[in-house]
Subunit: 474 residues, 2 copies
């Protein structure tokens, strides 16, 4: 069996401080240039030079404003605000590259599927098949309030809406136009054979969409489908829909278990469990010597902003306002200021002091390595073989030193070991390179709509929660 090669996406967001907070103040960091086209074209050219799979753009559509009852801390930190639209930087990056892929995050909760379907088809045309979509359902209360709702749609209900959203998209992307619909027959003056295009006539619980899709079929039709899982509803949803799953875990055994569970879930949905790819968020600090690597780590540690991490991680709980001995579980039990949920990174039996120390330190979890290229490559080989992952979203401590270091120091070492592509010969589209498939495979839920007759057959929706009436966005 050939050695597994590492897939790498540069983890990005159209903002100042995405996920490693406080680093924007580094004198040579370019984060403040995110408003400029040149920031994106420079990043794209660098990543293509390093034969990365893609630049992967996170997104949120609201401010983190529950911490200390307002958006002030997020604003001061540049913590995902200001932030710009992720889709609109892709065409400029596509223009200066030939092979690099682009993943964009978009939420199924607030905007109409017809317009989104057209935007993604447009991007797939412009990039000739180099786009992926990170399916999210949004978790920020402020996002809901920006789109006409009083508060968030409950978690499991968001996934039910998302499932119908996908159904609409598949009908538009896979079912509305046949492959040979566009004939461009100049002599007979026929651009499209109308017999090969159809309405989708979707009528569901949340959406009514007539069609036809406005775009002719693009190279990939459906963009590569990425999703992060965790909750049971998220796993079920990914089992039906996702081609690439973001996963994690504290130990290799944890990670392997998460992956095995996810593969089992895809099998339940009639899909080939080996076809799913698993990506983790990876942190790599590499130096030509141990000393150089340690010095970089020390720099990033020094710049780290606890406030930035608090606002990102705490979901409202103002840890520094409590005694260090207080148990997080007690704060939640008392429902101080209405806090009634343990934030994802915390535990009820943790003290406030322990939680603060964890946030202040540079504990970056299982997929974090500091060292020389050979140390880093050793560790990455363990991720591939022991944890069983397929790739990383490379977390940026510094833009663009993190990516440049990885390309100059780690990529050559991985190539020597047969663990990294020599060129983009492994495929022309993002899907071909990530999954080896040109289109969504025949057993995927979406494929049913390639038979026009199935557009008339209502799909069985995924059900996670008791029925709930939600005010329509807008």
């Amino acid at each position: 069996m050939p050695k597994k090669k590492l897939h790498v996406n540069l983890f990005e967001m159209n903002t100042v401080s995405h996920i490693v907070h406080g680093q924007w103040v580094h004198p040579t960091n370019n984060r403040h240039r995110f408003n400029d086209l040149s920031f994106w074209t420079e990043a794209a050219q660098l990543c293509e030079h390093g034969a990365f799979d893609a630049i992967f753009l996170a997104d949120v559509v609201g401010a983190y404003d529950t911490f200390r009852d307002g958006p002030e801390t997020a604003l001061r930190e540049g913590m995902q605000i200001p932030s710009n639209d992720p889709l609109l930087v892709i065409p400029a990056m596509a223009q200066v590259t030939k092979n690099l892929g682009f993943g964009a995050t978009f939420s199924t909760t607030y905007e109409p599927p017809f317009a989104f379907a057209r935007r993604m088809s447009t991007l797939d045309h412009l990039t000739k098949g180099r786009v992926g979509w990170n399916i999210v359902t949004s978790y920020l209360p402020n996002a809901a309030r920006n789109f006409g709702l009083a508060d968030q749609v409950p978690h499991d209900h968001r996934y039910e809406i998302a499932d119908e959203y996908m159904d609409v998209l598949y009908k538009l992307w896979e079912g509305s136009w046949d492959d040979d619909a566009v004939i461009q027959d100049r002599e007979n003056r026929v651009y499209t054979d109308p017999s090969k295009v159809r309405y989708i006539d979707h009528v569901g619980e949340h959406f009514r969409v007539k069609g036809p899709h406005l775009c002719e079929p693009s190279r990939q039709r459906t963009p590569v489908l990425f999703q992060a899982t965790g909750s049971p509803a998220g796993m079920e949803f990914a089992g039906r829909h996702a081609e690439v799953v973001f996963t994690g875990g504290a130990t290799p055994a944890d990670v392997r278990k998460n992956i095995a569970n996810m593969r089992a879930k895809t099998a339940e949905h009639g899909r080939d469990p080996s076809s799913i790819k698993f990506i983790v968020q990876g942190g790599v600090i590499v130096g030509r010597s141990d000393l150089e690597a340690a010095e970089k780590l020390e720099t990033y540690r020094r710049l780290l902003s606890l406030e930035g991490r608090l606002v990102h991680a705490s979901f409202g709980i103002d840890l520094p306002s409590y005694s260090r001995d207080e148990l997080i579980g007690n704060i939640i039990a008392r429902k101080d200021k209405g806090w009634d949920k343990i934030p994802p990174r915390f535990h009820p039996n943790q003290t406030v002091g322990e939680a603060l120390d964890a946030l202040s330190g540079f504990d970056e979890g299982r997929f974090f390595v500091v060292g020389t290229p050979s140390v880093v490559a050793d560790e990455i080989e363990r991720w591939l073989d022991e944890d069983g992952i397929d790739g990383i979203n490379l977390r940026q401590f510094h833009s663009f030193d993190t990516a440049r270091d990885f390309i100059e120091l780690v990529v050559p070492e991985l190539r020597r070991r047969g663990r990294y592509r020599e060129s983009y010969q492994d495929g022309e589209t993002l899907r071909e390179r990530l999954t080896g498939q040109a289109r969504l495979p025949a057993e995927h839920f979406a494929a049913r709509y390639r038979d026009p007759a199935n557009l008339r057959v209502p799909a069985a929706p995924l059900r996670f929660a008791p029925p709930l009436s939600v005010a329509a966005a807008e």
Copy 2:
């Protein structure tokens, strides 16, 4: 008084056949390349070479499917279907140009204002102030059905929704962030001064939007506001909002009257009536000799598609299915197949034969000229001086021969006459070049929100129609 110079936008749409139908079959026409980035970058570089103001992108979000009860004719003709998203080609064009502006059409009827505000701010950042927005409310029944509605929102009610939509956008664009909010103070680790950013807390009849805006202030803040008028509601709306108005008329007197009426309407809204610019759709076929120009005209006349024009113009009425002597008014009076409205380009006393002849011919109206550069320049000077317009949206018969001919033959002649800019020295942003202003002027409706106190003062909405309950989009 200095001679008025002509403003020119290339009139485009992210589709095959935008407005002069049948021409895509011309052997050297590039319309079929609209899915490719290179089509757009080539167009943009050409237009910048010619010192055009902008590339102006029309759009619709549905198919023309009332003609012969389906989208078949539109599909065969490539008549605005397939069509891709207009905003997404702008970043790639911006990447290969420095000065050219971009106008994009977007409808206020179907998609949430918060997301659109962010998209336009993103574009204004990426282009450094080179974007404009053509405000439309959508008129295609199929578009409504793609966004969850059973049929179109009635005309005047669409403008009421649009007026509140603008209110939300202005609050986000002009009011949510102060000019000096972003300080990027690395020493004190402050990206944004939080005291200079605020929620908008919009609560209106159609929209509830919390804010803050996710984007920091862009160069123009509000994109240049374009609008086509005609109806009383449209005029009223433009009087409050539009900076550049699309107009027309059969004679110079008509055009002058339309312009005078529009200026009077802006004055009623407390604005400087001389500040509004007027653009018409212009057709120019130019040759080095009269013969060359006539030959081009003959080519385009020969390729013209009556079917394409019928589906575009008829709004459903299948003229060729009637006797040539039938009066259009009679067809409407009988409500054949439910047709009960005279399509915009027709008259009740016209016979079917007359209407068909008008559509079959090459009658391109007042702003159409065929000839040598001096004949064209003479005519354009009349448009500027007799009709009183400021510029044209240049209709493309051939992509990109129409633009190339204009740049090579007409621009030098206009420059000799002092009627065309020598370079982009007349401004750095689209607004500066079109209106001479850096931002929306102080007397514009939007400017009130520069005082944060006014975010709390409900604006008096424009009212055109009796109250009407409309099902929310989605």
